[in-house]
């Protein structure tokens, strides 16, 4: 019978279309960094659903020394869900400013409990120190940063356990900090995955070569929205705000004010189910408009195995758009925000369709890696099933991918020319984006099951200029999360970005907002729209600096 739908196909070596000199380069400096973290999923011969899913990374400056530190979420022994050995411990590495890192997990008190998956960093209590929320299968943990290099588990007191009103611990994957009601206090959104347990676990694939079962065999779960009460406690407002009535299979989450109304909206990538776009109704609730906005499915009207997501403006039109990672044979959906409430599916039009068709991805980022003023795309890749290679068309271990923005709405797969670091085949999972060495270039830290984490330092050639903007809210939340920034270069090029740590897969990015400036050494104007409503404009700002901007 004639086929009508695309199917899963071979994952071949990624060929680059690039013909000019390489513009984006990465170098893996894991060995020099002294970071030895290996993501351990505690896998069992029957390959339970849980073991394909872990691997969040957070980039956060927990000691305010101006350099990003690195946190890795880790698995646990199965089926006990206990971090029985050091190899299951979550890890915090302090940045020594010289390319090396020191494991400070024990001192910080961040070894963790249970099967951890995601990490989200932000200063929820506005005390000037970044806190950390860990989502997981059996335990979600909120760590309060004590400001002295240590953290305290305040989960129970804060009321952010990830347990539903019915008393069930939901399977947490990713989390996002946002101030959905613009009251100056960061709220917390947690995605939840499947109604799965070892008791209900199915077994798929032949004995000895088990495969990850399809999530379609399990019911989904509602996501959770916690409102920050401002006194160290949170209230579960999922029902009141219209979140929990939508049952999905939540994986990645990203936030952006997609309709430019001053209120942050939330996108949830659902695995084999329609994606959610929670449109913020002025802080009074959310309408789920994924179907109406055309981001629920690809343009072929069917869901894909949505994993990670990023939600930023890649074509400098001021409208945050989306990239979503998925499994081989599906393509990575690229949804362009039209600015009229609709998104258009652009994967093929933008030139990533045929390339991503062969990839399976987790983390995703819309970042300007070559500092040319146009944001590029990065995905951390791997198939979900450890035994995926049984199917000759699939590969468990895959290289990551980077797509260069060609300034005309299209991207070019330049992975093949981006250096040996981009050829590493591994079971990549979460990845986080940020400037590890404050050189103005966005680096990437990637977790991988069974192999050392990768620290991809951005070594792209050329002397393009840049700026990193660190917002300090006063009336707004102290991190300034949700602040929309418009940057106008002397040449007239206008760029947009916003303050968020959310995005990618189960990971947390550099809070600082990065802009590439190309040849420009002075920025004509920077406009900041704070969540409080304050609009602040800076003029004639020098490039190549980390600019701290307190809210006026």
């Amino acid at each position: 019978m004639r086929r009508f739908l695309p199917t899963l196909f071979a994952m071949l070596a990624v060929a680059s279309w690039s013909s000019g000199p390489p513009q984006i380069q990465f170098e893996n400096r894991q060995k020099e960094s002294r970071i030895t973290f290996v993501l351990d999923n505690g896998t069992l011969p029957d390959k339970p659903m849980l073991d394909g899913i872990p691997g969040g990374v957070a980039l956060l400056d927990y000691d305010n020394d101006g350099y990003l530190d690195i946190f890795f979420a880790n698995g646990a022994s199965l089926p006990g869900l206990i971090k029985t050995a050091n190899r299951f411990s979550n890890r915090l590495y302090h940045n020594n400013h010289d390319g090396t890192f020191t494991d400070v997990t024990d001192r910080a008190g961040l070894r963790g409990e249970g099967y951890s998956i995601g990490a989200a960093a932000a200063d929820y209590d506005n005390d000037g120190f970044v806190d950390l929320y860990i989502s997981g299968f059996d335990r979600n943990i909120l760590y309060h940063n004590n400001g002295d290099g240590t953290f305290t588990d305040v989960t129970a007191k804060a009321g952010v356990t990830g347990i539903s009103p019915a008393g069930k611990k939901l399977w947490g994957i990713s989390a996002a900090w946002l101030d959905y009601d613009n009251d100056g206090k960061l709220d917390l959104f947690v995605t939840n995955y499947l109604d799965w347990s070892f008791a209900t676990s199915r077994v798929c694939g032949p004995p000895g070569k088990r495969l990850s079962c399809s999530p379609t065999f399990y019911k989904g779960e509602p996501n959770i929205l916690y409102h920050n009460n401002g006194d160290g406690t949170f209230t579960d407002v999922s029902e009141a705000m219209g979140i929990s009535r939508h049952i999905g299979k939540g994986m990645g989450v990203a936030i952006a004010d997609y309709n430019d109304d001053g209120w942050m909206d939330i996108f949830v990538a659902n695995d084999n189910d329609r994606n959610f776009l929670f449109k913020n109704r002025g802080g009074r609730g959310f309408d789920e408009v994924g179907v109406e906005s055309f981001v629920a499915f690809t343009d072929n009207g069917v869901p894909v195995s949505s994993m990670g997501v990023d939600f930023r403006d890649w074509n400098n039109d001021g409208k945050p758009s989306l990239i979503v990672t998925a499994l081989g044979g599906e393509t990575y959906p690229l949804f362009r925000n039209e600015g009229n409430g609709f998104f258009s599916y652009e994967s093929y039009r933008a030139g990533i369709g045929f390339h991503s068709f062969k990839m399976s991805g987790w983390g995703a980022g819309i970042q300007d890696f070559d500092n040319d003023g146009y944001k590029d795309l990065f995905t951390s890749n791997s198939h979900v099933s450890e035994n995926a290679d049984l199917d000759k068309q699939q590969h468990y271990r895959q290289p990551n991918a980077v797509f260069r923005n060609m300034h005309d709405g299209t991207f070019q797969d330049v992975s093949g020319n981006a250096g040996p670091a981009m050829q590493i085949r591994a079971a990549h999972r979460g990845c986080a984006f940020g400037d590890l060495n404050n050189d103005g270039k966005i680096d990437v830290v990637i977790s991988a099951i069974g192999s050392p984490a990768e620290l991809l330092y951005n070594t792209s050639p050329g002397g393009s200029h840049w700026i990193l903007i660190k917002t300090v809210g006063v009336k707004s939340n102290r991190d300034g999360i949700g602040t929309r920034i418009k940057l106008t270069s002397a040449s007239g090029l206008v760029q947009y970005n916003h303050v968020t740590t959310a995005g990618s897969y189960a990971s947390s990015n550099d809070l600082r907002v990065h802009f590439g400036l190309g040849a420009e050494t002075v920025i004509k104007e920077i406009e900041l729209k704070w969540p409080s409503g304050t609009v602040q404009v800076l003029h004639n700002v020098k490039a190549d600096q980390i600019l701290t901007v307190p809210e006026e």
């Binding site: 004639r2 086929r3 009508f4 739908l5 695309p6 199917t7 899963l8 196909f9 071979a10 071949l12 060929a15 798929c204 694939g205 495969l211 990850s212 079962c213 399809s214 379609t216 065999f217 084999n272 189910d273 329609r274 179907v291 109406e292 055309f294 629920a296 499915f297 343009d299 072929n300 009207g301 069917v302 869901p303 195995s305 499994l327 044979g329 609709f342 093929y348 039009r349 369709g353 045929f354 390339h355 068709f357 062969k358 979900v384 099933s385 995926a388 199917d391 000759k392 068309q393």
Partner: protein
Amino acid sequence: MAVCTTWPAFAGPCTGAEEQLAAASRALNRNAVNVAENILRALSASHPDCPEIVLHQARLAQAKGRVDDAAELFYRYTDTDPNDSRGLAYFGRFFLEQHDYMRADALSATAMDKNPNDPAALALRGQVLVMKEQSSEAQALLEKAIKLDPDDPEAQFQLGAIYDKAKAAPQAVEYFRRATKLNPSDARAWDYLALNLEPLGDLEGADRAYQKGLQVNQPGRYHDAFLDYNYGRFLAKRNDLSGSKRHLDRAVELTPQIRAVWYERARLDLRVQNYQQARSDAEKAAACTQQGGIIDLQIYSLLSQVYARLGNAELAKKYADLTRETPPPVRGEQR
């Protein structure tokens, strides 16, 4: 000096015609109808009593679409030689083309009983087993058939189809390439070759294969009604929207009863912002009973987009609601 003399075997009615018969068979395999016809005409004159000529005349009639003549000739041949596995196999292949699957099944089994090493019988039985979803058995038979007769394009095609179904594009490409080489007039094989080159990233090769398929896509046994549809989809992905429209327009002419062709054209209409045409095509897709792989969820999702673009809030909401209420398809058990 002793002289060894080999006496000729019993001279039958086909003696001396063997090479020409083989040539006719090869010509029929690659759909070279005129060549086969000329050979058979000459043979009929020189060997009027050779029954095998009847077999190939039956195949010739089949190739030319003269169904009744073909059936009559096949019957005549199998009456003459009911134990010839080849005759039974070719007759079975004829029934398969007539969608008479039960008879094809029975004849393929009988042909195999008569001679389990006859490549024609093996190929037919393999093809039947593919249809019965006994892929591993079918694969074994087809591989054996190809080993015995690598020049049978149909066996190559069927083996390619097994790999296509198993989503093994590299292997499928190998067999479809052979099938197209042996029978360049097989539009189906070109189409499948293109479909399998596409996921391998050989976009230029896929494009060439689609175009070759379109060049030879004539009514008859190798006609491919979905070639324009598949090429139209391919061109849309390559952002050749006018080319895509040309082929999707043709696809809806060729197979208007299939939902998929209207659906695909509606998607293209939407992309080029021809919303009225998108509405028309999407509604036609919704009315089609033959889904062609397009499920209701896809139709609802498309219609919700179309009506939203047209500013018809009521219908947009209706289809958005239906989209939400319709569960997504259940994918394979594992991934």
